[in-house]
Amino acid sequence: MRPALAIGLRVIRQLTRDRRTIGMILIVPLVITLLFGYALQGETQHNPVIVVNEGAETPLKSKFVEELRADDKVDVVDVSGDMNASWDRIRAREVSALVVLPSELSTDVPSPPFNITLLVYADEAEPSVRASVMAAVSAALGRTVQDSALPVQLSVETRPVWGEGELSGLDVSLPGVIGFIIMFLVLLLSVLLLVREDLEGTKVRFYAAPINRWQMMSGYVLGMTFFGVLISLVVLTVSIVVFGATVRGDILLVIGFVILFSIGTIMLAILLSRLARNEFQAVQLAPMIAIPSIALSGFLVPIQTLPVELQYIAAFIPLTYAIDGLKTIMLRGGGFGDITLDFAALVIYVVLAFAGAVLSSKETVA
């Protein structure tokens, strides 16, 4: 028993001597738990929708719109008679759904069909938004017809916005999974590589070489981008070949976008590696960045379900833009013109992280 006790005490003593590790052991779980607690308690509310009215305005339709407006799950931003214009707006992602009211939805129709179906065109890339809109529409419809003598069977159906078929749960998750894996692995690999340079004593000799920090940083980025690309290609290939992931857009655009994200993450790793003095600290840095990113980037829950203050934080998380861009290309079939905001955000990420990496790296050790 004494040897076991000695080992146990040695481990505790060893870890408690490393103040940064202890800090991370205590602070990281606290921050992550708080973030997830706040992030996951919300539900999708105030999803912007347009009600498209086919045919004449009727009291029943007005009642339905009134009921729908009363539901917090949706914000009826417009009631329009123009399907084409509304369609353009949902494709421009101004709204999350179109609720189409058929002309038969009226007590005045002389011989209405037995079945009337309300079509809801909702962004299939955001299933929880879709479910929330569907719940609001069904409830509003139920309340609308409960007092009327409409002798018909009413139903609500969803239709995709971005493609012919429906997307599976796997399809919808993959952009987030790809973004997360790349962020986590690239971050971990890069931080460990840089910390090892310090631990193996090569850093001093490296610092004594006749090169400047720009050359040093560019060299690191070049070498590690190779692995960032490799990781990206493995994740994409397995997703598509093994799981049949849907890629509605240009696969080369997906690859290019993922490489851009990897480069930014490598720069971030260079910056973070200044905080880690040993492997213990290095391996904790990757989850410290990656896990809050999962909570806030739209990977687990849509950003609009987060409390408002967390939505502001989400806007500063690179994974938010990586996932949105990947969703747009892979699930919405978007081209470069559709991801300009995400692309610009990632370019800013790369520039800021590079500047941070260069400024934090010194040609002098102390």
């Binding site: 001093v204 610092y207 070489a209 002098t364 050790v365 102390a366």
Partner: protein
């Protein structure tokens, strides 16, 4: 260097040191562990910033012109500091490229240095599999690769067997005869006898400076070890 001071917090690692080393000399910095020798040479290379004083190396100011100084200086750190996952040859290629050498010259010089360092048979194996002494030889090879005018060696013979140590010193003397300047740190008093001049550094200060024989005579001691112990006790 003149009046050089470098502190870490409250600790003055280098305390008002002034030194001048002429070209073509083997200059030894003798001192116990923690005496400030490594800090001093890190300041010389522009790796550490220093608080006061000035440094001029090979007609260039440090840190202002440290890149020029580094280009003409071969440096062997105290730690083995080679990439363990690369072979000795790959390490040489990497560092040679950092010094702006073309691949042909690097290969040529590597071949010559590995013959001298007895590393020819090990040139392609992963450095992790080499013995400590072999890794130290690779480290020395890297320092000599750019054919530098100034060679700074921080405890180069630690863990090296006596035969190789003798070969190292013979080579250092050959390099000196070719006009190279060598600054070498050591805590081994026997080794300090081989240098042209030695500075005894204790607790960040230079307490004695001169030819080893002259110093022993001045202090009336029969060995550098006695000199070392006398100053170490009185510092």
């Amino acid at each position: 260097m003149t009046n050089l001071t470098k502190s870490f917090g409250d600790l003055k690692a280098v305390d008002g040191v002034s030194l001048s080393v002429p070209r073509g000399e083997i200059f030894g910095l003798l001192g116990p562990n923690g005496s400030g020798k490594t800090t001093l040479i890190h300041c010389l290379m522009g790796i550490y910033r220093f608080e006061t004083g000035s440094i001029r190396v090979l007609d260039h100011d440090v840190p202002g012109q440290k890149k020029e100084v580094r280009r003409r200086t071969g440096f062997m750190p105290q730690d083995i500091s080679i990439y363990q996952d690369l072979s000795p040859e790959e390490n040489m290629l990497f560092y040679g490229r950092l010094y702006g050498l073309d691949d042909g010259s690097i290969r040529q010089r590597t071949h010559r240095l590995f013959e001298f360092l007895d590393l020819e048979e090990k040139r392609s194996v992963v450095s992790r599999t080499l013995s400590g002494g072999q890794r130290r030889r690779v480290s020395l090879g890297i320092a000599l690769l750019p054919d530098p005018d100034l060679i700074i060696l921080d405890e180069p013979t630690v863990g090296v067997d006596p035969l190789l140590r003798k070969q190292f010193w013979d080579h250092f003397q050959e390099l000196r005869d070719q006009g190279k300047t060598i600054l070498i740190t050591t805590h081994i008093t026997d080794e300090a006898l081989r240098v042209d001049r030695v500075a005894l550094m204790i607790r960040g200060k230079i307490l004695a400076l001169g030819r080893p024989g002259d110093l022993m005579e001045q202090e009336g001691v029969s060995s550098l070890e006695d000199l070392f112990l006398r100053f170490e006790g009185g510092a």
